[in-house]
């Protein structure tokens, strides 16, 4: 018995590359089939019926026909389009970061229902929650856990002593925290504050709902971001491309805020000058 020629599935579009004149190769992440590539024909033409349903960051119902090497998408219908992500510069950038990580951490055709739900929940929450920093950290930590890289945050990864509430170090190559005496022998460990460890542990052990209720200050948020980024980069053995973009964007915001601060006294002076006259 041969397999049926056509089949249905649903998944999130996590990557797209151009193919030929008007086609694309899409990477789809599905709960039941895992990640796979498929050809979407004609989607770069303006009259394509499928193009809008096959954009990045879209959860779609797909009909596919078995092809010689890659399967061909013959029909598509949006399930969730995550519209808020597509109307906001920051949200879109965060969404792209999430799907890039999903793409990097999954192997082809390995289904993982839990990881799929994690990605879906993260994209949904991005549309709703204001606590984006912690949402992304939750996603990263859970992604690591699913992929078998759960960082050890309770005891020193080298000597297995329970950690003391002092400045310890995080070592990406050891996959966890090193106590000060062990860290002295490890050149690539970065210092980590007690609070950062506490937040990371909280993210590791609690539900997304409770994590999103947490409030942390921006300095601590940047520190935790630095820790997870460093660990992800070490595991992937390369930069996560959208991280560079997020940094660019943040830098741009900072410059613009500074400009406003610089400009503000100017207008103030002008006003003063006017009143003096």
């Amino acid at each position: 018995m041969s397999t049926p020629r056509e089949y249905q599935t649903s998944g999130i579009i996590i990557r797209k590359t151009k193919l030929g004149e008007a086609d694309r190769i899409l990477t789809v992440y599905t709960p039941e089939l895992g990640k796979f590539d498929a050809v979407a024909k004609g989607v770069r033409r303006p009259k394509s019926k499928m193009a809008g349903h096959l954009e990045l960051l879209t959860y779609s119902q797909l009909t596919l026909a078995r092809g010689r090497s890659l399967d061909i998408i013959t029909g598509s219908q949006t399930i969730e389009s995550f519209l808020p992500l597509k109307n906001d510069l920051w949200l879109m950038s965060y969404g792209l970061y999430v799907i890039e990580l999903v793409n990097q951490f999954t192997a082809i055709e390995v289904p993982d229902e839990d990881l799929f739900q994690l990605a879906l929940t993260t994209l949904r929450q991005l549309c709703q929650s204001d606590n984006r920093d912690l949402l992304l950290r939750y996603f990263e930590i859970q992604l690591l856990q699913h992929s078998g890289y759960r960082p050890q945050l309770r005891e020193c990864v080298a000597c297995h002593q329970v950690l003391q509430p002092v400045n310890n170090s995080f070592s990406a190559s050891n996959g966890g925290i090193l106590c000060p005496s062990c860290a002295a022998r490890q050149p690539f460990a970065h210092s980590i504050t007690v609070n950062a460890i506490k937040v990371l542990r909280f993210i590791q052990d609690n539900s997304l709902e409770s994590v999103l209720k947490l409030k942390i200050n921006p300095i601590l948020a940047r520190e935790i971001e630095g820790v997870t980024r460093g660990y992800l980069k070490y595991l992937l053995e390369r930069e996560v491309k959208s991280v560079a973009w997020l940094d660019d964007l943040r830098e741009q915001m900072r410059v613009m805020v500074n400009k406003k601060v610089v400009n503000a006294p100017d207008t103030g002076d002008a006003e003063n000058a006017a009143t003096e006259v």
Partner: protein
Amino acid sequence: MAQNNTAATDAISRLIQELNKLPGIGPKSAQRLAYYLLRAPQEQAERLASAVISLKLEIKLCSCCFNVTDADPCALCRNEQRDRTKVCVVEQPQDILAIEHTGVYKGLYHVLHGALSPTEGVGVNDVRIKELTARLTDGIVKEVILATNTNLEGEQTAMYLNHVLNPLGIRVTRLARGLPFGTELEYADDATLTRALEGRSEL
């Protein structure tokens, strides 16, 4: 294919190899084109060769709008008839051809040569955004029309440009997004339909 290449003479196999590198030309098409040129009149082959050479020698980017041109500034930028208060931002030179074909737009252009794509590592410095902002400091331009593609990268580029250009006090507009002409409503996606509804107009 490999056997064919060794069987054919060196000049033919070299041409086949080069043609094969062109987009949409596979090994068989390359072979067909090569043998067609072999039989074609001498002048035809020479015209093709000289056209290819002059393409690389004569075509450069306009220093103002970054459109492809053989004279700098390009014909569009030199044209005194065009409205210098409007700049239409497009992703690639071919987009200018599409907009010019409508005959509706009379302003100037700016070609970005790409769109921002964080996951593919295309950042602000890989497209001509700095050149655009530099161009807008002279105070002549009053409106920037963002005509990037309506896919995710194009949208992101448009949102980013809006974010950068807004503080300059220039009017920033985006091409309307809605249903394409000749379309059937039942196949429209959520994003398109939402925008079509938002941007509905009196008949």
